[in-house]
């Protein structure tokens, strides 16, 4: 039965075409399924493309969280906490006993100051993906990956297939391409800067720099 992209079966079928083994033999379906799920996890880990918003109650210095990375923390008033680091905890100016600074240590969210009472923070997390188990499970709706990174899962699967096939030069080429794409997508999902007020004003003149 023809599989529709981006279902698990379709990703597998496409990989089989690319590796030129349409019927399971040297590459079993179970292998491809393992690589596709590993690819889903790796893409989520490298690009931080799956974002969850969790309510976490903190009552001490460090609280465990689940996910790859904490991206932003808001207090109960909806104001973002300032991202700090461990060495600055306890040394930064604070104006209340509620958490005002945060950083991450391993799987812990670390806050400063230590809250006097339990408080709930809204935490934006680069989260784990969900594994696919059935051929009709989808990279998007099941695993949680945004559309723009689905091709990366295919690249990862091909990389693994070439490694098994001992095509190490081809594998290296695919890995470089895959890795660079992950970096590019990470920059899309993790923007660094907000617009400035000046970006919303029309300037007197716009000069486009010409190459020398």
């Amino acid at each position: 039965m023809a599989q529709a992209w981006p279902q698990l079966g379709a990703v597998r079928d496409r990989a089989r075409k690319e590796i030129n083994e349409l019927v399971p033999g040297f590459f079993t379906d179970a292998m491809f399924n393992r690589w596709i799920n590993a690819g889903i996890d790796d893409v989520a880990a490298k690009t931080h493309c799956i974002k969850s918003i969790d309510a976490i109650s903190v009552s001490g210095r460090a609280t465990a969280f689940s996910g790859y990375a904490v991206k932003t923390v808001l207090n109960s008033d909806g104001i973002s906490l300032h991202k700090s680091n461990l060495k600055r905890m306890g040394h930064s100016p604070v104006n209340s006993p509620s958490p005002q600074f945060w950083c991450q240590w391993g799987q812990f969210l670390v806050v400063d100051p230590v809250p006097a009472t339990a408080t709930t923070l809204t935490v934006y997390i680069a989260d784990y993906a969900t594994a696919l188990s059935s051929d009709t499970d989808q990279l998007g709706t099941t695993a949680g990956l945004p559309n723009e990174v689905h091709e990366l899962v295919f690249d990862y699967t091909l990389w693994m297939a070439h490694l098994r096939d001992r095509q190490y030069a081809a594998a290296a080429g695919i890995y470089m391409m895959y890795s660079n794409k992950c970096l590019l997508h990470r920059s899309f999902f993790d923007k660094k800067y907000a617009d400035r007020q000046a970006d919303q004003e029309i300037p007197d003149r716009i000069v486009i720099a010409q190459p020398q």
Partner: protein
């Protein structure tokens, strides 16, 4: 997400090596490689990060030993203030009002030095980069033939690079500790040391109970020194309080969950691919495919650099990052 245990890791390495069942590469060899790889990744990336709040200084003693397995302390906290990191050559030279911990430095071997020399037992918390305890073969935890106990099948485990085998315990290991109130969760960890005895550690607030199994597991203390984790058990009793060692694990109203957590890697999951690739590289070297092995190791180093930044980077935001300019 896909959780890997030792069996999964071996399967994935064999996928890439092209040997589905043990022949040229024995299971023991692959298991040894998996554990070596996990230790190497942890040591190169510093990704296995722990918080140890059990430390204290000793009056008149400058040094404090970190928990067994800690490589170094990245930060040390006393009285809700983080100490400045110095070098040993700065001891006694930086200003301090008293002899409470103000500065620290690392000494190779999992030891920190404190300046000034403490004049009392001060509680300190260390944020450390650690060596993982080791991935065991799946123990298949389940209810024991003695139904108050947790059974385990035969499993292999490693302590400081030495392999041990624990025989199956069909009758099971008895749970212990405080009663868990009705309709709340309690958690216990099974641990094992080189003496091959399974030890039970209870979550710190089992006497109050937890709202969920996940919270109960999060309440477990860190693995004891010189032990490796076997697995965890969480229990809820909707009929009455749960009395560990007395209430049957299959009694009416009791729901028990057994997780072979010791069989899973301890380092963060974004590094698990590196365990598989290093396993592949070692197998390729054994096959004298040195160039291919080197290429795979180069990929691993690239992967470590990619993710290590996330773990090592402690770059804070500046004040201007939060101004609307």
């Amino acid at each position: 997400m896909t959780d890997y245990d030792m069996t999964d890791l071996k399967t994935r390495i064999r996928d890439l090596v092209g040997e589905t069942t043990a022949s040229f590469f024995t299971d023991d060899e692959i298991e040894e490689t998996v554990n070596e790889s996990e230790r190497m990744i942890a040591s190169l990336s510093g990704c296995y990060q722990m918080i140890d709040a059990t430390l204290a200084t000793v009056n008149g003693i400058r040094t404090v030993s970190l928990t067994t397995g800690a490589y170094r302390a990245v930060a040390v906290e006393h009285d809700e203030i983080f100490l400045a990191e110095i070098l040993a050559k700065h001891c006694g030279r930086f200003p301090a009002d008293d002899n409470a911990p103000r500065f620290f430095y690392n000494i190779p071997g999992g030891i920190i030095g404190i300046d000034r020399v403490p004049d009392d037992a001060y509680s300190i918390t260390a944020y450390t980069q650690n060596e993982p305890q080791g991935i065991i073969t799946p123990p298949a935890l389940a209810i024991g033939t003695t139904k108050t106990n947790v059974a385990s099948s035969e499993f292999d485990y490693w302590i400081s690079g030495v392999k041990y085998t624990k025989a199956a315990v069909a009758a099971g290991t008895i749970l212990s500790g405080d009663d868990v109130p009705q309709n709340t969760y309690g958690a216990w960890r099974l641990e094992i040391a080189s003496d091959e005895n399974i030890d039970i550690v209870a979550a710190t607030a089992n006497s109050a109970g937890y709202a969920s199994a996940a919270l109960a597991r999060a309440g477990l203390p860190t693995v004891s020194d010189n032990h490796t984790e076997v697995g965890t058990v969480t229990v809820i009793n909707t009929s009455a309080a749960f009395d560990p060692g007395t209430t049957l694990l299959d009694a009416a109203g009791v729901t028990a969950e057994y997780i072979d957590s010791g069989a899973m890697p301890k380092i963060p999951r974004q590094f698990w691919l590196c365990i598989i690739l290093l396993g592949l590289a070692r197998c390729l070297r054994r096959q004298k495919r040195i160039a291919a092995a080197d290429q795979i190791v180069a990929v691993v180093h690239g992967e470590l650099r990619f993710f290590s930044y996330d773990f090592a980077s402690q770059t804070p935001d500046g004040w201007a990052d939060y101004r609307y300019e």
